[in-house]
Amino acid sequence: MRIPSGSTKVTFQVMHPPSQDDPVLRNSRREAWVILLIWCFATFACCGISGYLGFQPASKDGSIPPIPMIGGIPSWFVWGVFLPWGCCFVLTWWFAGLFMTEDDLGSDHAGELESDIREEATHG
């Protein structure tokens, strides 16, 4: 912000009570919770299904039972990785395509910060 020569005051808003969040903050927080749910789904679906199907214990006689395959891919991988991957693909498209809001991020104050750095050096 350009400060007129000689001026020592700037004007802005402080909200009272101080909890009226900026819309970008409000939307970002809501979206972050949804993303957390998607991450939890991916993590626990992959680890849970793969863990349940993927460990191949030896049978009582010590031999290894045949590994179930689907199209040349171990079945645990199909259900525990590819299936959640497909679900996440759909969820992500829903999230970014429909749920996520387009917010105005405001104007860029980079030039103002540059001026402030110089002003601070000049006036101590």
Binding site: V14, D22, E31, P84, C88, A96, E102
Partner: protein
């Protein structure tokens, strides 16, 4: 023992890589020509004038590095299908990395005018000490991380240098690997030149170009590998015959590679800690608008599926196409060997451009981060705050080139255990920056001291767990889980079976919250500027600090 395939060195493969390099260089020159001189040099040079589009954000946030095309293939070849679970957090990474903090970082960066990550912390928390700490950590971690990246780039060129060309290029010297030196010289000259000349925009454009080449390379290699292995079922069966049933099951072939605790850890590492990487956070300061962010999430979701799923299949198949590499401890070379075996020399060059491009894009981004720290956070802030754009431009070019030269000298004879340093520094950086960034975005009560405590605790926890692993390695104790530590390298200490990133994240969060709560609340006016709705002409926090506020309730 199986006969090991010896890769051919065809001049055409090398020439394709040289062509790829020249295109990258050309993009750097064009980027320099289109720079908007009116918008302030530093913002343009280090942040691309906050003008990144969706494709650029998606492809440059893809977190591909040399490890994606050299380390991951080696693991898949060695441990089999379990590595798919190890890496599959990339299914959710686009939405976490870009979606959680994207808009808020973009907004705070605009409201504060920040153009570097330390700038952002300094203006958000009103703390020069925090900014200085962040800057130091970025410079130390990234400079160390750059050394193995330079090494990886040099090794790729060395792999394709035709026989006889090397001796002609560099006179033999005792103890020097001539091929490596030529590779290092070519790699360094190119990547440092285009990054120095074109800045952030050059790094982004070349990243996009290189990411497209990576996808093309992977998609060409997929059918070739499937055909050569006789199909996926035959490949898996032969992998099981060679490595044991663990090749097709958890926790992996020949070792407890991926117990569930580690599988969970890697969902934290790739999808959560990825948010805290400085290179990612800087991209979140540089995108054009929130629509860009939405589309970049969509594009990155597709891109990750195109890259990672084929990579898993290709290198499962590689076990049957290139037998014997595990026994000969040559699994790190599986990618270039597979390319030269399956494709004609021109196509092999194109495919090999994928790992080469990944390394180049990582290096260019890191170089700029370190240089921006030197120029903005040290030179301008502490020594020459009145420097004009011309002087800052010279300083930026000099800093970028200087960092490149220093790393090149360090990479002349890099220690062998630097792969561990890459993982350590990646974890350390995320542990340092993720929680403070989350606090900066979402928590009004977060204080500068809390952020500092979070940073210090995250880094401290990472160092402690890696140091413990190092000491155990010195005593010859194998951690028993995860990949086999390569001599003389050491693995981290997996406390309760979890990777250090999980503990670092928890410790960092606890410290940040507790210390914030017991320290003086932050300045209400600064917080209002960043958390309350504000008119477009509201001042930046730095202006507020310089001039007494006149707040309208």
């Amino acid at each position: 023992m199986d006969e090991i395939y010896i890769p051919e060195r065809h001049p055409a493969t090398f020439l394709v890589l040289v062509l790829f390099t020249m295109v990258s260089l050309g993009l750097g020159v064009v980027a320099n020509m289109v720079v908007n001189r009116k918008s302030g040099f530093l913002k343009q040079y280090f942040l691309g004038n906050r003008s990144l589009g969706a494709v650029a954000v998606a492809l440059t946030a893809a977190v591909m590095s040399g490890g994606t095309f050299m380390g991951v293939p080696s693991y898949i070849y060695t441990y089999g299908w379990s590595v798919g679970l190890w890496i599959c957090a990339y299914m959710v990474a686009p939405v976490t990395i870009l979606g959680i903090m994207g808009k808020r970082i973009g907004q705070i960066a605009r409201r504060t005018g920040a153009i570097t990550l330390p700038d952002l912390y300094r203006e958000r928390f009103g703390s020069p000490a925090l900014a200085l700490s962040a800057s130091m950590l970025i410079m130390v971690f990234l400079t160390v991380n750059l050394i193995p990246q330079f090494k990886a780039g040099a090794l790729i060129i060395k792999t394709v240098l035709p026989e006889g060309w090397v001796a002609a290029a560099v006179p033999g010297g005792a103890g020097w690997d001539q091929g490596y030196l030529v590779g290092l010289l070519l790699f360094t000259t190119t990547v440092v030149a285009y990054t120095t000349y074109g800045g952030f925009l050059a790094a982004i454009w070349t990243d996009v170009f290189q990411s497209v080449i990576m996808a093309i390379g992977v998609l060409i290699l997929l059918p070739l590998a499937l055909q050569a292995s006789g199909g996926l079922e035959a490949a898996t069966t032969r992998g099981v015959e060679a490595a044991g049933p663990g090749f097709a099951t958890l926790p992996g072939a020949g070792r407890d590679f991926l117990p569930l605790s580690l599988a969970f850890s890697f969902f934290v590492m790739w999808a959560v800690m990825g948010m805290g990487q400085p290179s990612t956070l800087v991209r979140l300061m540089a995108f054009r608008n929130s629509r860009t962010l939405r589309y970049s999430i969509l594009y990155l979701t597709i891109y990750n599926a195109i890259i990672y799923i084929p990579l898993i299949i290709i290198f499962v198949a590689a076990r049957s196409i290139l037998p014997g590499l595990a026994e000969a401890r040559l699994t790190d070379e599986v990618m270039p060997r597979l390319c030269t075996k399956l494709a004609n020399p021109y196509v092999a060059g194109l495919i090999l451009a994928a790992p080469y491009g990944a390394v180049m894009s990582t290096v260019s981004g890191f170089l700029l981060l370190v240089a921006s720290g030197l120029v903005r956070d040290f030179y301008q802030r502490f020594f020459r705050p009145l420097a004009n754009d011309r002087e800052l431009a010279k300083a930026s070019y000099a800093a970028t080139a200087l960092v490149g030269v220093i790393v090149t000298i360090a990479a002349l004879k890099p220690p062998e255990y630097l792969q561990l340093v890459i993982i350590f520094s990646g974890t350390g950086m995320a542990a340092a920056f993720l929680v403070p960034a989350l606090m900066a975005c979402f928590w009004r009560r977060a204080t500068a001291v809390g952020a500092l405590a979070s940073m210090a605790t995250g880094v401290g926890t990472t160092i402690a767990l890696y140091a413990t692993g190092l000491m155990m390695g010195l005593k010859g104790i194998d951690p028993g889980i995860g990949p086999v530590p390569k001599p003389p390298a050491f693995g981290p200490y997996y406390l309760l079976g979890f990777d250090p990133c999980v503990w670092a994240l928890i410790a960092s969060a606890v410290a940040g919250i507790l210390v914030s709560l017991v320290t003086t609340p932050p300045d209400a006016e600064r917080i209002a500027l960043l958390f309350d709705p504000q008119p477009d002409n509201a001042p930046a926090p730095a202006t507020l600090a310089l001039h007494p506020a006149h707040a309208n309730a």
